[in-house]
């Protein structure tokens, strides 16, 4: 460097003098914004480096920030997903509770409709362990005064009857069980018959003669003649009618949703205890509703 400067000392001196004057000139000159040119030059020289450093720092910062944000977003996403799952679970629970509350409200309404009837609310706690029988277990038993042949119903209609009462638990034979039989009548024509279970979702209305017309959609109620079920409780609706050898083959869709039982009412008394109440006339309407 020194050798170069000595070899080109005149040129070096020229450049040095020119630069010195240039800076001196720039120091004196003020730009449009009353800023000395030397400052503008200094800024112009420094600013690219500053911008570069700033860009690098910004880039790194942004990268780190994005990484952190991404990591945070992932955690947030996991947290939100967990919260969503929890909320869904909660919603399902609330929906179930709402449905349960609705059922209980209906049961309560039914109970209020028969203020003197010994209706006991019970919860279905189990179903039949064998596919051959359609029974459910309820959480009321002999200790609560439940006994065999007591009627089990919901606001929709008849469910069945208690076939065994144990301490704290009772077994209920559903209307759809093949062993079930309920005295019935067709609401419109007042034709008497027996509703029997088929083991499936439908029941069969038997002993209706071929010459006695039954319309599809007709409502079937309890007749009370079996001395177990009070008269006038909804059993179901006729879904199909076919003439048989002597009697028609009439299929009935149970009014109560037997496959989705949760809460039921048990008439802890004789059948008359329901019909003998002052509001007996309203009961059928209530149940029908």
């Amino acid at each position: 460097m020194r050798a170069f400067l000595e070899r080109h000392r005149h040129l070096s001196l020229l450049v040095a003098m020119l630069l010195a004057q240039l800076f001196f000139l720039a120091y004196q000159i003020k730009g449009a914004k009353d800023v000395r040119l030397i400052r503008l030059w200094a800024v112009a020289v420094i600013s690219p480096f500053e911008k570069a450093v700033d860009a690098v720092v910004d880039g790194l910062g942004s990268l780190v920030e994005n990484y952190v944000a991404l990591y945070g977003a992932r955690q947030e996403s996991q947290r939100l997903r967990a919260e969503l799952d929890l909320a869904r679970l909660r919603l399902q629970e609330l929906e179930a509770r709402a449905a349960e509350a609705e059922q209980l409200a209906a049961l309560l309404e039914l109970k209020h409709a028969y203020p003197r009837a010994p209706l006991r609310a019970a919860e279905v706690i189990g179903s039949s362990p064998a596919a051959t029988t359609l029974t459910v277990l309820i959480n009321r038993g002999s200790e609560e005064g439940l006994a065999p042949n007591m009627v089990v119903l919901t606001p929709d209609g008849v469910v069945g009857k208690v076939i065994a009462a144990f301490p704290g638990v009772s077994r209920v034979l559903l209307l759809s069980d093949p062993k079930s039989g309920v005295g019935a009548l067709v609401a419109d024509s007042r034709q008497l018959g027996v509703v029997k279970g088929t083991g499936g979702s439908l029941c069969r209305l038997e002993y209706i003669r071929n010459e006695e017309p039954v319309a599809v959609g007709a409502e079937v109620l309890t007749s009370g003649q079996d001395q177990v079920f009070p008269k006038g409780l909804p059993l179901g609706r006729v879904t199909a009618v076919r003439p048989g050898e002597f009697f028609q083959e009439i299929m009935v869709q149970p009014a109560a949703r037997l496959t989705r039982l949760e809460h039921v009412l048990v008439l802890a008394g004789p059948p008359e205890s329901l019909t003998a109440t002052a509001q007996a006339s309203d009961s059928s309407k209530q149940l029908a509703r």
Partner: protein, 170 residues
């Protein structure tokens, strides 16, 4: 042909008083004479002094330093930002010194031509600085610059002849 490639090794030296006197006289005249004679505004006597000593000393460093000093003095005495004429005369002093080693600058015709060129170069440099740094519209070339170049060239040839009397061969 006067302007021929004819390397010259002869270097002249001056008594410092002569240099100082010539510079001061040039600046003094440049400052006061135009007051009385407008035509003299075309003259740039300090430039002529710089060129002359550049031609005679044939040393680029001393040429540029003399140009620097004269130009800055001129700037200081004027309203120009200091460095405007300084830079221009530094470059001219350097160029004159450098060229004098390769061209015969002792004869009137080369002097006339070189003076004519250097006045233009000086003006271009000043105008460039004005335009680039000061944001002013400087006059690069034109009739006035041409007139100034002719006047200064002629004055320079005469003045140089006078100054030649004070130089000594080394």
């Amino acid at each position: 042909m006067a302007l021929t490639y004819q390397p010259r090794t002869e270097v002249y030296r001056f008594h410092p008083a002569v240099v100082l006197g010539a510079v001061l006289a040039a600046i003094f005249l440049q400052v006061f004479l135009p007051i009385y004679l407008t035509l003299l505004t075309l003259f740039d006597l300090p430039l002529l002094v710089v060129i002359y000593f550049g031609f005679s000393r044939r040393n680029p460093s001393s040429g540029l330093l003399l140009g620097l000093a004269v130009g800055m003095a001129q700037d200081l005495l004027s309203n120009n930002p200091v460095g405007l004429f300084g830079m221009a005369k530094t470059l001219v002093g350097f160029a004159a010194s450098s060229l004098s080693a390769r061209l015969d600058t002792d004869r009137p015709v080369p002097r006339l031509l070189l003076l004519f060129v250097f006045v233009h170069v000086h003006q271009v440099i000043v105008a460039s600085i004005q335009g680039l740094l000061l944001g002013e519209a400087g006059e690069f070339l034109g009739l006035r610059v041409l007139e100034a170049a002719l006047v200064n060239a002629l004055a320079g040839v005469l003045g140089f002849h006078v100054l030649d009397r004070f130089r000594k061969s080394t």
